[in-house]
Symmetry: C2
Subunit: 169 residues, 2 copies
């Protein structure tokens, strides 16, 4: 099935947390509050800064904050910030492919030429109907405590199992 990249998935998690907390926070604090590893937070913030979805504030109380109200940021904006234009097929995406994937070279003769454009435009329109405010208005009131504690428990259990394995060997 076509999926968003893992990094985009993380970006949405981080943006939802930023929409809910509504405070300027350092990357370290965001990582701590969400359980997303700091290098991932840094990588995502770089892409979000570049696309203008977040702003960075310098200084002792500096950090990252949303550049726009959550109701003005759509799921399409978030996906495009990380992945570029919405294009379900490689041939419609005119951007050079990072993975070295090539166009077939027969675009002007292809019987599908232009047909996917309509599909992509409709998918993009659908992704514009859901905003960051919608994504943040979930059944849980806030992000962190339960999730972070549960995550910590999973990590502790894994570390415990490793330690037990070491002791047994």
């Amino acid at each position: 099935m076509f999926r968003i990249n893992k990094l985009t998935d993380y970006a949405v998690v981080l943006l939802v947390d930023m929409a809910r907390s509504d405070k300027v926070r350092a990357a370290q604090q965001i990582a701590l509050d969400t359980g997303v590893p700091l290098p991932t937070v840094a990588k995502v913030m770089k892409a979000l800064l570049r696309s203008g979805l977040v702003v960075s504030h310098r200084g002792a109380c500096g950090g990252y904050g949303l550049a726009h109200p959550p109701r003005s940021i759509t799921v399409a904006d978030m996906i495009q910030a990380l992945e570029g234009p919405i294009a379900l097929t490689a041939c419609v995406d005119k951007a050079p492919h990072a993975d070295g994937e090539e166009a077939c070279g027969l675009g002007s003769l292809c019987p599908m030429n232009g047909q996917w454009d309509t599909v992509n435009r409709r998918v993009e329109a659908a992704l514009r109907t859901v905003t960051l405010a919608d994504m943040a208005a979930g059944p849980l009131p806030a992000f962190a405590p339960e999730f972070t504690r549960a995550r910590a428990a999973v990590l502790a259990a894994e570390m415990g199992a490793e330690r037990a394995g070491e002791m047994a060997s």
Copy 2:
């Protein structure tokens, strides 16, 4: 960017050709008419048969045909036939992952829980607004001749280059 699989891309090309030709044809003939390799045609037809988008007719004049009128088959149907349910994130897809990808195990506590469902439903609805009839009603009147000739020319040029390389070495 999230993309459909190459096999799904081929499936749409083959279904568009079937919608335009409106004849029962053997897999070999479909391969010949579209320039899609026979093993790929066979693989795609198997998936399309299973999901009920095409039917197979036995006998000397047998082959594959569309199971429904092109206006009743949507892009969502075609994608789902090859890729299963529309799910932009792995955690929303409840099906076991062929690639061994695992859910994070914190679904019930995840602050994003359920939010992606809305997005997936909207994307699926968008994909239901474009039909096979729309995809087949392209700027080019028919599939084969120009495309197949151009493809043959590309292949001949490649083979020529190989032969020239052999003669030079």
